[in-house]
């Protein structure tokens, strides 16, 4: 296989309006067909029962049979309308989706935006992953206009970042269709309108479908300029704001959705890697001769932080790894690291005289604290948290015989960066790397890294055959890249009138920007603020984790606000409403959730409620948790969770609710269960038996409402996360009078809080 190996694009991929049982596609489908360019050898990749034979005996007959059914000639011609869309003469519209699909629904939501403005008939739309070309399909980080940029799906940026560009692209295509019909019919373009999939001339009663237009349309190389004035009024939206079924769902109910782990290519081998038990430790030696002599072993590869083995079967690869007996060189930064002790030592760093990096400063905090009638101070702690995306990492790579090109199948949040990383690894141009984006079995930020993809390439390069790299759950957890643990120290001053006048927040930890996110509280009107970060360095891998620093920071901030409210005898919603005085949107969100939860009415006996308010990715969200407590075991139970959010225009309301709900579930999971520790430099947990995540029996009833808005859309993927922990801690304090200041609120910590 070489870099020019191509799928018979663009036919036969992905989902269409008819939602065939097996949506076809590079990675999204049940079957993938490959053909070696220019050679006599061709082969089929068949998933499903036929795969029985295909893996070991590649059969040209199967290829012909399958490709024949989908042969390019058997479908109507497709005409490109700019980079994003192709329209077939039968009226089918192909729209490219540039974002990763990891369950957040972007694969449907983004094409919806474009289809809206071009007035496509949604039932005739099919969707494919766009080529991995960030110069064409990327977006700017600010979400502004302009072509190109990043293809990273992260930070709740997909809908938000592409919204205007895709609307404009849709409007451009509609303009081209109108211009062509106007020319053909000899009528002024101004007399033409569109309905779903058709151009209409009302005066003469004529109609023509987009497919018919595509047959004669002349499409300029540069599509005509349009401006925001040419866009639809939200009142005319047919798709945006009206949930359409997600296109990836059917294939996720019969096992046919293809994740990287499911890809098989002929001649494929299996790779596993024994990675350093202490992050970044180097292997000094291993039983190379023994491992190479094991049954099925094709090769071994020494990496900077581990040793990989490639074998004929999964079983042989695992068995060979067990025999490695690696001696690790000393000197890794994380050697001997004890996370519990280190977190305890953060208090000393916070106590220290030396000021950290200022993050924001306003007014004169020192003077305000001096003058305060009452002062508050509290420390909050957060443990390391692991991504635990349900699909362990892995990728399939095939480096060509010359070593100067590769084909890669992977689920990644950043295909552009992954493709570039592979090219760098091979020392070739990115064009030499063919990249097939697969569905992601969850991302949570872990899949913005390309480590697991580059590893697959390293293994394949060493044997010059395709390799499926498998990470076990233990690999995934122990060589993870974690949400950093942290200490949040907060102080506040309240004047004699009960006004919050001073606020300081110092975050301590190893994670720089990962710690800073969510620490600012611009939406709260506190005249004197000082926010700073103090660093530590442990050599433990850290990474963005859904909502990043917002999880830990908003927990601390919102729990502290309730501390103050209790101290001052003010209702927690009332105090927040006062603080949000300058933000009518914020107040509306808060009032909405208070109404949803029946705030102020007595909760059922044995239960209490707590509230929290956050901003994340431009979205404002408020949540109320209703909990009870088993005082013997120390176990908190969350029964209800209400959330109101203002995220601007909600493109796919049903899916957006699922996103907020999923965020709340992750937030509750970190609030109650998730805890990763290191001792002697090694991660102490290994799998779901000792790293718990929220289960069905822990699931509260969740209600989500959106504030109606025609403002541009904001992020939906993350705001549910940070709203959870603060609400739970505040409900606990309402129930018991005791604060919870260390996440997760494990039964031991709860009992400690009760008895302490």
């Amino acid at each position: 296989m070489n870099a020019r190996t191509r799928l018979p694009s663009p036919e036969g991929h992905s989902s269409s309006g008819e939602a065939p049982r097996t949506p076809r596609g590079t990675c999204q489908s049940r079957r993938t067909f490959l053909r070696r360019a220019g050679g006599g050898l061709s082969f089929a990749l068949v998933f499903g029962p036929a795969g029985l034979a295909a893996r070991r005996t590649d059969s040209p007959d199967i290829l012909d049979a399958l490709v024949g059914a989908d042969a390019p000639g058997s479908r109507p011609a497709e005409h490109p309308f700019g980079a994003w869309v192709r329209i077939a003469t039968d009226g089918q519209v192909l729209i490219y989706n540039p974002a990763a699909e990891m369950g957040q629904g972007s694969m449907t939501a983004l094409p919806v935006i474009l289809a809206e403005e071009m007035d496509a008939d949604w039932d005739r739309v099919r969707i494919e992953h766009s080529p991995v070309e960030p110069g064409v399909y990327g977006r700017s980080w600010g979400g502004g206009r302009g072509r190109g940029g990043s293809m990273m799906t992260a930070g709740s940026m997909a809908v938000r970042g592409y919204y205007m560009n895709l609307r404009l692209a849709g409007a451009q295509i509609r303009r081209v269709l109108l211009d062509n019909v106007a020319r053909e019919w000899g009528v002024p373009p101004g007399e033409l309108t569109t309905g779903p999939g058709v151009v209409v001339h009302a005066e003469s009663g004529r109609r023509i479908s987009y497919g018919e237009v595509a047959a004669f349309a002349e499409v300029p190389d540069e599509l005509p300029e349009v401006s925001e004035a040419d866009l639809k009024s939200p009142a005319d939206f047919r798709l945006i704001g009206h949930s359409v079924p997600r296109r990836d769902v059917p294939a996720k109910t019969d096992g046919s959705a293809i994740f990287a782990m499911d890809v098989q290519v002929p001649d494929m081998l299996y790779g596993v890697i024994a990675r350093a038990p202490v992050h970044e430790a180097r292997p000094a030696s291993f039983n190379e001769a023994e491992v190479r002599g094991k049954p099925g072993v094709v090769g071994t590869v020494t990496l900077d932080y581990g040793v990989g083995v490639v074998a004929e079967t999964v079983e042989e690869a695992f068995a060979a790894r067990d025999a490695m007996g690696i001696e690790w060189a000393g000197g890794a930064r994380a050697e001997g690291f004890d996370s519990v002790a280190a977190l305890g030592a953060y208090t000393g760093i916070a106590d220290g005289e030396s000021r950290g990096r200022p993050l924001s400063e306003r007014g004169d905090v020192g003077a305000a604290l001096e003058a305060a009638a009452a002062r508050y101070e509290a420390d909050y702690f957060n443990d390391y948290v692991y991504h635990a995306q349900m699909e362990p990492l892995g990728a399939v790579a095939s480096v060509n015989a010359a070593g100067d090109g590769a084909e890669v199948w992977a689920g990644t949040q950043a295909p552009d960066m992954a493709r570039a990383a592979v090219a760098r690894e091979l020392g070739v141009a990115v064009e030499q790397v063919t990249f097939h984006p697969c569905y992601l079995g969850g991302g949570l930020g872990r899949r913005t890294m390309a480590d697991y993809i580059v590893e697959a390439v390293q293994l394949s390069r060493s044997v010059r055959r395709p390799v499926k790299l498998i990470w076990t759950r233990e690999d995934d957890l122990r060589y993870g890249a974690f949400r950093p643990m942290s200490l949040q120290r907060l102080t506040a001053g309240v004047d004699s009138g009960g006004n919050l006048t001073a606020w300081t927040h110092t975050v301590v930890g190893d994670g720089r920007g990962l710690l800073a996110s969510g620490i600012s509280i611009g939406y709260y009107d506190i005249p004197n603020q000082r926010i700073e970060m103090r660093g530590a360095s442990h050599g433990v891998r850290t990474k963005h984790w859904r909502a990043v620093g917002h999880g830990p920071n908003k927990f601390a901030i919102e729990a502290f606000i309730d501390d103050i409210a209790r101290g001052e005898g003010i209702d927690p919603v009332e105090l927040r409403r006062t603080l949000l005085g300058g933000s009518p949107r914020g107040v509306a969100v808060l009032d909405e959730v208070a109404e949803m939860a029946g705030w102020g009415a007595e909760p059922p006996s044995g239960r209490a409620r707590g509230v929290a308010f956050v901003e994340r990715s431009g979205t404002l969200a408020a949540g109320v948790a209703e909990i009870s407590l088993d005082e013997t075991s120390g176990r908190i139970r969350v029964h209800r969770f209400w959330c109101a959010a203002d995220g601007g225009t909600i493109v796919q309301p049903r899916n957006a609710r699922a996103q907020i709900e999923g965020g709340i579930v992750n937030g509750l999971s970190t609030a109650l269960f998730e805890r990763l520790t290191l001792r002697g430099g090694r991660v102490e947990q290994s799998n779901f038996h000792d790293y718990s995540i929220l289960r069905m029996s822990d699931m509260p009833d969740i209600d989500v409402r959106f504030i109606p808005s025609t403002e541009p859309p904001m992020g939906m993927g993350e705001p549910g996360v940070p709203v959870a922990a603060g609400a739970v801690a505040n409900a606990f304090a309402a129930l018991t009078g005791r604060p919870l200041r260390h996440m997760p609120f494990t039964p031991e910590r709860v009992l400690e809080a009760l008895n302490g």
């Binding site: 998933f47 499911d262 569905y439 779901f688 038996h689």
Partner: protein, 159 residues
């Protein structure tokens, strides 16, 4: 020695070693990739299949143990997504990333086969071992309730 068993109603033979785990045999040798690898230690339920109609973790089941027996995977739940649970899953738009959903569906199918109208408590206790990182639990419960309501005939196809 090759192992023969029934997979989704058809006889299959695998020459994988008898101590190989069924999960990997299904996925890598028999092309049945709908059964997912999540933990490998019986802790997440992503690999749930039916062994003679009962839910089991394929990641912990050795090939030799299925000789002569009947395995049903997600691919065998129905030919065309027509199982009441699959329909309900689509109606409720249950999946997010989808990775856990084969296991969820197979676990749910075994519940409805034995208990066509489970209470909410019965659903939760039967389903509790199948993890979903995306937090689709609420919709899973609703979908099972929906399927049990429409489903007067026994739900499972695997006895």
């Amino acid at each position: 020695m090759p192992t023969t068993f029934t997979l989704n109603g058809k006889p299959v033979t695998s020459d994988a070693p008898g101590n190989a785990m069924l999960l990997w045999v299904l996925r890598e040798r028999l092309g049945m990739t709908g059964t997912r690898f999540g933990c490998g230690v019986g802790e997440c339920g992503a690999c749930t299949v039916h062994l003679d109609g009962d839910p089991v973790h394929a990641c912990r089941l050795r090939l030799s143990r299925v000789a002569g027996r009947e395995i049903t995977t997600i691919e065998g739940l129905s030919k065309d997504r027509s199982h009441a649970l699959q329909q309900a899953w689509i109606e409720e738009e249950v999946p997010q990333c989808g990775y856990c959903q084969s296991g969820q569906l197979m676990q749910a199918a075994s519940l409805l086969a034995a208990n066509p109208s489970p209470t909410r408590e019965e659903i939760v206790s039967h389903m509790d071992g199948v993890l979903c990182r995306c937090g689709t639990y609420g919709r899973i419960i609703r979908a099972i309730e929906r399927a049990s309501a429409v489903n007067t005939a026994p739900a499972g196809r695997t006895r």
